[in-house]
Symmetry: C2
Subunit: 387 residues, 2 copies
């Protein structure tokens, strides 16, 4: 299995098991700050904190790698400040692996206040409205100072993955920017400095554009590759088309990261197609909106019907919210807008997401992923309502 | 030392050491849910949660007993709901001692929407504006259902402790309501049910009224006594006058609780005068406003000057905020309004308050309280500013 193992500088990726019926694989991603068993979900710590979670509890919830946002940290407190404070690991009080995105997705999501040209992007600061210039070189410089284990290349994420002309232009820029990013990354010392660079594949729903984007990225022989341009409000079928078009062209011995995804069903759809890494605000944002993912379905904790319910939120879960609190108490905390409500639901949802990915990994090892899919997703399609 | 020890049903109080120079004493308060070493500070869990703190972390911060608010829990989720959910210990996920206040202080603090008559109070709900009737009987019934270890009698807390006519009327009502509360508490089964009743002494700044109020309360031979009518915005000297007027008339073998206080200096002033228990929102509310208490003085974490400061908030503290985060990071979290900022400062401030009370207890045991006072309060008077 030599071709299923990659090792360079402090980084590695080793495929350990493969499904006999689909492209799913379990693997270990190696970074200077530790190993990540994949498939894995990365909680989002936008501004250097996964909202409402102490690092110790993040670890206890099952997180092994976290994501932070270059755009937000650049605005505040700034990469120089982060560096002075000891770097992102120290600031996040997280000694495990960290990945920083490049800001490409933020440029998309802030599209109304961003203008893209061939050399970079002008975008308004969400902090003070000032104009911020993001370029491929600059984004690599920022990420170098932040000091995450994995930096992402700066990409152009098109708003409409079905608009061929727009997607083609975005692919061109993404390809050209990647070359700039790779060069800048090398100037900084490359992977030897403890930071790997992942490339991003664009191409919307167009198989030929995805293929071309993947192949141009591959030319740089990077430590990992991401599929971008999904999670932009497109239909499910478009996301699946994007994965199907890109994955066959990505090397089997490098991690594949589907950016900004997603929900339990997405994890199965993507893992079956060979995806290893995910990130999304779903578990944390839903928690702050008082929605929980449970083994019995989705639960809206603001529902009056939970008021007298002394049962645990999810009888199959052993997180602190399920061990020590009842549905009735969680409802009280949520309707009273107590911080503790959002904190407990965040810990629960993270435990649910990390637990799900861990179960998927075991199922791949035991070659029974399809069976797990049915077990897990059937209740997921419903909302659990009080009796 | 027979007279320094009280034991009845599941409740007890044993004085273990006394200062040779002031009225300070260290003691152990015994409740059905465990012991409390005094002097002790009770964090405030208004709606059944100390804001932003997991129960496990509350324990780790040094809390041994917590307070919750009858008025707020009556409004939401309601005492019947709390009872159905297994009682307040279960709802708060706190298996240690709990004290519930009676709502008397809330009536004062909501004075603009409350009307007091001889039989009780009409007060507006802060949840929905509806009219709520609180009576001495009703408040005991509510607290019985909540199920705390210690219930407080319903008192009339006058807004101006220097208005003799108003204070005298409040004393009359407090005395009459206490008799009603004691009777109701006895009807419910008294201390044998696992809940003790503490009486409240009013009397403002008037020594004769404080004495009369204390003596009328003493007639009921209760498991503990509180000094109320302080922390209503009065001058420091008035608080001290209230303590001086009341304490000499309280039995030496029962805990003395100074309600709604306060700050480090208050703890020394009050403990030196024989107070055992305190509660206040100071550490938690200040934390949410991004103010910290440290061994080097008060710190406003929003101050720009902390931006690049990689040192711990308080080098003498071992809480998670001081162990794992820097001043610069805490400032970033606070100015970004991240939940984690308030969470960490809450844990730090609670650790500081509980640590201070524990040091005071040791100092009493070693008869060196005055020396500790000087050590602790000198830096407290200043605000720590960036260099």
């Amino acid at each position: 299995m030599h071709e299923l193992r990659f090792q360079r500088a402090g980084f590695g990726f080793a495929v350990e098991a493969r499904s006999s019926t689909c492209a799913a694989r379990s693997a270990t991603l190696d970074t200077p700050h530790g190993k990540v068993a994949t498939p894995a979900f990365m909680p989002v710590g936008t501004k250097g904190t996964v909202k409402g979670v102490l690092p110790r509890d993040l670890r206890e919830a099952g997180a092994t790698i976290v994501l932070a946002n270059t755009y937000h940290l650049h605005l505040r407190p700034g990469e120089d400040t982060i560096a002075e404070l000891g770097g992102l690991h120290r600031v996040m009080a997280w000694d495990g692996p960290i990945l920083t995105d490049s800001g490409g997705y933020q440029v998309f999501s802030l599209g109304h206040i961003a203008e893209v040209d061939d050399a970079g992007v002008d975008v308004r600061s969400v902090v003070d409205g000032s104009l911020v210039r993001l370029t491929p070189e600059g984004v690599i410089d920022i990420q170098r100072k932040l000091g995450a284990d994995i930096a992402m290349a700066f990409d152009h994420c098109p708003a409409d993955p079905t608009d061929r002309a727009g997607v083609a232009r975005a692919c061109q820029r993404t390809q050209s920017w990647l070359a700039t990013c790779v060069e800048r990354h090398r100037e900084h010392g490359g992977e030897e400095t403890g930071q790997a660079l992942f490339g991003i594949v664009q191409g919307g729903v167009f198989a030929d554009l995805r293929r071309a984007s993947a192949e141009s990225a591959l030319a740089h022989d990077l430590a990992g590759y991401a599929i971008g341009g999904v999670s932009v409000g497109e239909e499910r079928a478009h996301m699946i088309a994007a994965i199907d078009a890109a994955v066959p062209h990505l090397p089997i011995d490098r991690p594949r990261y589907l950016m900004g995804v997603g929900l339990p069903q997405d994890f199965f759809d993507a893992v079956e197609r060979g995806i290893d890494l995910f990130d999304c605000v779903t578990p944390t944002r839903h928690a702050r909106n008082h929605n929980a993912f449970t083994s019995q379905g989705r639960v809206n904790l603001r529902n009056t019907g939970w008021r007298h319910d002394a049962r645990p939120l999810d009888p199959e879960c052993t997180c602190i919210a399920c061990r020590e609190f009842s549905r009735g108490t969680l409802r009280h905390l949520c309707t009273s807008d107590e911080m503790l409500g959002a904190m407990l639901l965040t810990l629960h949802n993270l435990r649910f997401f990390h637990g799900l990915l861990a179960r998927m990994r075991r199922a791949i090892e035991e070659d029974r992923l399809a069976a797990l899919r049915n077990d897990v997703l059937a209740p997921m399609t419903r909302k659990l309502r009080p009796e």
